[in-house]
Amino acid sequence: MRWGTPVTLLAAALLPSALPDAFLLHLMTSVAIAAILALGLQFLLGVSGQLSLGQAAFYGVGAYGSALMTGAGLPFAAAVPLAAVFAGLSSLVLIPVTRLRGPYLAVATLGFSIIAYLVIKNEEWLTGGSLGLMGISRPALFGERLRDPAHVYWLCAALAALVYLGLRRLADSRFGRAAHAIRQDEDAARASGLRVTLIKSQCFVISAAVSGLAGALFAHHIRYLGPADFSFWKSVEVLIMVVIGGVGSAAGAILGAAVVVLLPEWLRAVGDYRLLVFGGAVVGLMLFGSGGLAGLPGALRRRPEARP
């Protein structure tokens, strides 16, 4: 596993030279953005054990925030981090909810996500309503517009790698271990003197900010925003990414993001049966084992030993 990260990073960096097709590169950029989104939920669910069904809301705050700020003249490099911070701040509204457990937290975040979707759809003066926002500026670095799809890809992939490494470090830190303890037994963690509510809220805000970053990148990658991308389906999609990859595995979240983005594209060949097969694939993957995709190698390795 020590070699895994550098090799994957190298492969990801060399991908544009291996993929001559602009559309495929565009897809890989979408995978990188989806990976950031999945890493955000993976941190929340896998590390602190909180299930959020409202990631689409923070994704939307990041996307519209960055699109509106660059529209008002702010440079890309300032708007994207600001939008991520905004998304993190917007999750503060939900902080009182983090003391809820399990399905109750899930429903509360789901409710928030539906409210956010309705705001995006109905507040035309701000978000363009159902028509959406068009003509969002391209990503730019050091005053240079990134016109080459490979450059946009590199930017998003690099940010995804940074988020991956950052969240992994955070998960291994004192703070991350405290969150782990809460996930395993909230009452025991509280009894050991951990400030449970504070730590859970901090995880919530971090996850929202990461989702906001993904949203901001999405806005400048696709360059058009409509309410459909921020409906409850998006939250479900993120959850599928994390669970397919294996809850608790950051690398799995990236793999899951790749599957959820690429599989429906690849299945275009089967036309109308596309989503039917996708749904079946999700069920099938769940039947494979507890670790999701990240647990597959382990499951395959264990199997021969089990035989007498």
């Binding site: 409710g111 109308d272 084992g289 507890s290």
Partner: protein
């Protein structure tokens, strides 16, 4: 707004509330027995609705009660089969609950798209099951609404009797309370669990026929309705049968009155805001009120 019009809105709210209640009952029964948030519940409802409609296509003169029965049978068989084929296998492999819940989402996508292939992507109108209108003074109430409210209550009472008076019903209650103890006294866990899913599915199927006859049948109809019913179940307190009934009807009333008095564009948001507010005061939903009172 006049009193008569107000009453009309209320009847509409109660009718749609009955649909939510029936679905919420299914969520509650399933979560209590197995811990699963059954996201495919809305799709089971949709399939029930489609099957009821297909029964009407085959036999246009079919009695409404039989249409309802067709929907219930379809929903019950479907949900029972899902438990036997998918969830039971997953449970036996000791898969984490999160994975089972994701499998329900997968099944939900699967069913939705299967229905789109089978019944098409256009909304399908139910023929009017009832004609004429009931007039009380100057008040005109659509017979559909009364039919839905009446049948909804009848089904809920029947369910309550089934769960509290019959052996299979009591077995379902027992496995929900303590699966190990229930098995020790000789209850077949597998069978009771499948029964729980089948009953929950039948409730959803009934809700589907009702909702279909009120508006129309549509392959995507289960999605948002299912979510709202889940919210209603949470409002009442997950796992509580009485709470689910109350939560559903309350949610229907809030949504209908909210649409009339506040804003129809934000009609879904009102219920959600209320939900978050209630959860903050009562983290266990309305069922927590009774526990606290004790």
């Amino acid at each position: 707004m006049s009193g008569a019009a107000l009453l009309e809105v209320a009847v509409g709210g109660i009718a749609i509330g009955c649909v939510y209640s029936l679905l919420a009952l299914g969520y509650s029964m399933i979560i209590r027995a197995s811990g699963i948030i059954h996201f495919a519940q809305g799709e089971v409802m949709m399939i029930g609705s489609m099957c009821g409609l297909s029964a009407l296509w085959l036999a246009p003169a079919l009695h409404p009660a039989l249409v309802l029965l067709a929907g219930m049978a379809a929903g019950g068989v479907l949900a029972g089969a899902m438990e036997l084929l998918v969830y039971r296998t997953l449970r036996r492999r000791r898969v984490p609950l999160m994975n089972i819940i994701t499998a329900t989402v997968g099944l939900s996508i699967l069913l939705m798209n299967a229905a789109r292939l089978g019944w098409g992507s256009e909304p399908l109108r139910y023929p009017d099951l009832f004609s004429g209108a009931v007039e009380i003074g100057q008040l005109r109430i659509s017979p559909q609404l009364l039919w839905i409210a009446g049948t909804g209550f009848a089904i809920m009472i029947a369910l309550q009797l089934f769960l509290s008076k019959t052996r299979p019903g009591l077995a379902m209650q027992a496995i929900a309370q303590d699966p190990d103890a229930a098995q020790l006294i000789g209850i077949n866990l597998s069978r009771s669990m499948a029964g729980t899913f089948a009953v929950a599915g039948a409730m959803a199927g009934a809700a589907g026929v009702m909702l279909g006859s009120l508006f129309f049948s549509f392959f995507e109809m289960g999605f948002i309705t299912g979510l709202k019913a889940f919210v209603a179940a949470t409002l009442g307190g997950l796992g509580s049968i009485g709470g689910a009934m109350l939560g559903g009807i309350l949610f229907g009333l809030i949504e209908t009155f909210g649409a009339v008095f506040v804003s129809s564009a934000y009609k879904d948001a009102i219920g959600m805001l209320l939900l978050i507010a209630i959860l903050l005061v009562l983290p266990q939903g309305l069922a927590g009120l009774r526990k606290r009172g004790r």
